[in-house]
Symmetry: C2
Subunit: 316 residues, 2 copies
Amino acid sequence: MNIGLDMMGGDYAPLEAVKGVHQYLSASAQPATLFCIGDEQQVQPLLIEHNIPANTIRLIHAPEVIGYHEHPTKALKEKQQSSIAIGFHLLASGKIDAFLSAGNTGAMLVGTMYTIKAIEGVLRPTISTIVPKLNGATGLLLDVGLNADCKPEQLNQFAVLGSLYAQYVLGVDSPKVGLLNVGEEEGKGNLLAQSTYPLLKENATINFVGNVEGRDVFKDKADVMVCDGFTGNVVLKMAESFYDIAVNRQLDNDEYLHRFHYENYGGTPVLGVAKPVIIGHGISNAAAFKNMILVAEKMLQTNFCGIIKHAFMQAV
Amino acid sequence: MNIGLDMMGGDYAPLEAVKGVHQYLSASAQPATLFCIGDEQQVQPLLIEHNIPANTIRLIHAPEVIGYHEHPTKALKEKQQSSIAIGFHLLASGKIDAFLSAGNTGAMLVGTMYTIKAIEGVLRPTISTIVPKLNGATGLLLDVGLNADCKPEQLNQFAVLGSLYAQYVLGVDSPKVGLLNVGEEEGKGNLLAQSTYPLLKENATINFVGNVEGRDVFKDKADVMVCDGFTGNVVLKMAESFYDIAVNRQLDNDEYLHRFHYENYGGTPVLGVAKPVIIGHGISNAAAFKNMILVAEKMLQTNFCGIIKHAFMQAV
């Protein structure tokens, strides 16, 4: 199992990426082979400093870095020697089985779409966010920004992708799927929600429980919550800001609020593409990098992309 | 100034409505004349019990009540002697100048649309919610559910309605108007946001400051935040649930979080209709009722509906 990690992505890279690698290797009995992609001159001394023997990882030199504010398509094209471009090259050629980065999100998405491509039958890949539930469980909300405008058929597919992810990667048995909406009853909502409801209701491959409202997001009503990427992105960023407010007001000692800390989740996989690609938060720290690696490992162990391929072969 | 109050609406009516009337009358030097609409047999003894002399208010008998789960249009038609139906009748005939209720929201909206009607030029009336800002200021988000699907022209009008409300009723000087979106730059967003941005940018009657994201909702970036009613409703209910979570986790002693308590705002006016109609929260307590009356008073004192009429006469 070969996992590629962009050592240069994120505000605190490469230091926190190196620390994350160290945490992962220390905690794992049979670690995957990590392909650490980044500027040798910067990464090598940090590996030594953090007691990561050269033979426990593969250091892949990438002299260039794509910055946060660079135009994704342009940067990927022009910076072929960047850690992100090299990562996708290795992933496409099969030298690595999964690729993760906390770098330029747009470049990661463009790289995924053009290099790895959607699984046959998937109309649009999607990105999700983990939602800490009040009962201690872990929920999933999708789409959170990749698809600002959606069709009902896409939301129906997000439900399948999210449901399988919750089941196989998050370990939720028979995940309850809810449609994020403005009321409880069937028939409520905007045109998209109204047209999506019957599709979800008739979809025999998911456990659809009906509509969920904004007030149910953190409750037990549904494990997987489906919405268009506009609504989901607003919800995600609002939840993040609540956590930031709690931290600023020193309320984050609260056990529940603390679960909102992004580092616990590490990153979001792009669901519906042929190989695991995980996009991390720009402020990723060591724990976040470690958890990103663990998510990739889990996706590979469960053959998650194979499961998705199989599900979509039967036509959704 | 005659303000009509539905004494029977809300989970704790008529008791909390009576207490709210008492609070209002005690605190006001020159109170408006309150038309208290409700079941005499229930309301009269409570008025006596709370030392509200008969001559300080007008008690209007309404033998029927529209329940929470009744179908709005059907109930309004069949229960002509309900407090809500009588309230709209008094408002339409000019016997009262404003009407407020914490009762069946749907019935209040139907009553408003069919009895009071939209101001000429207003495509669709809208409802908003107050947003407590971290800097102590008061923001406004609209639409929060009356219009699940919107056109760019409607969002442009919500911007004007919200801006005037913030200025005249909330007392915000030259309110900054933001478009709720998924990114900062112009061109970001779903088709609705992309098409709305240029309209807001060219609208000389508002102080447009660009896009705001989910993470900016509680920040100082914009005083008035505009979105479709689907997104706004999800945001509103999520914010309410955060407050509930804080209360349950005993974090609501926090000064900022406490400002989320609905009672501080009392209710939401229907913006864009010819007369002030205010819809309260179902769980309204005395303070909420008092604040609803104060909002109505402020709207009448500032001739808010006249200001809207004038603004829309000049074509938005």
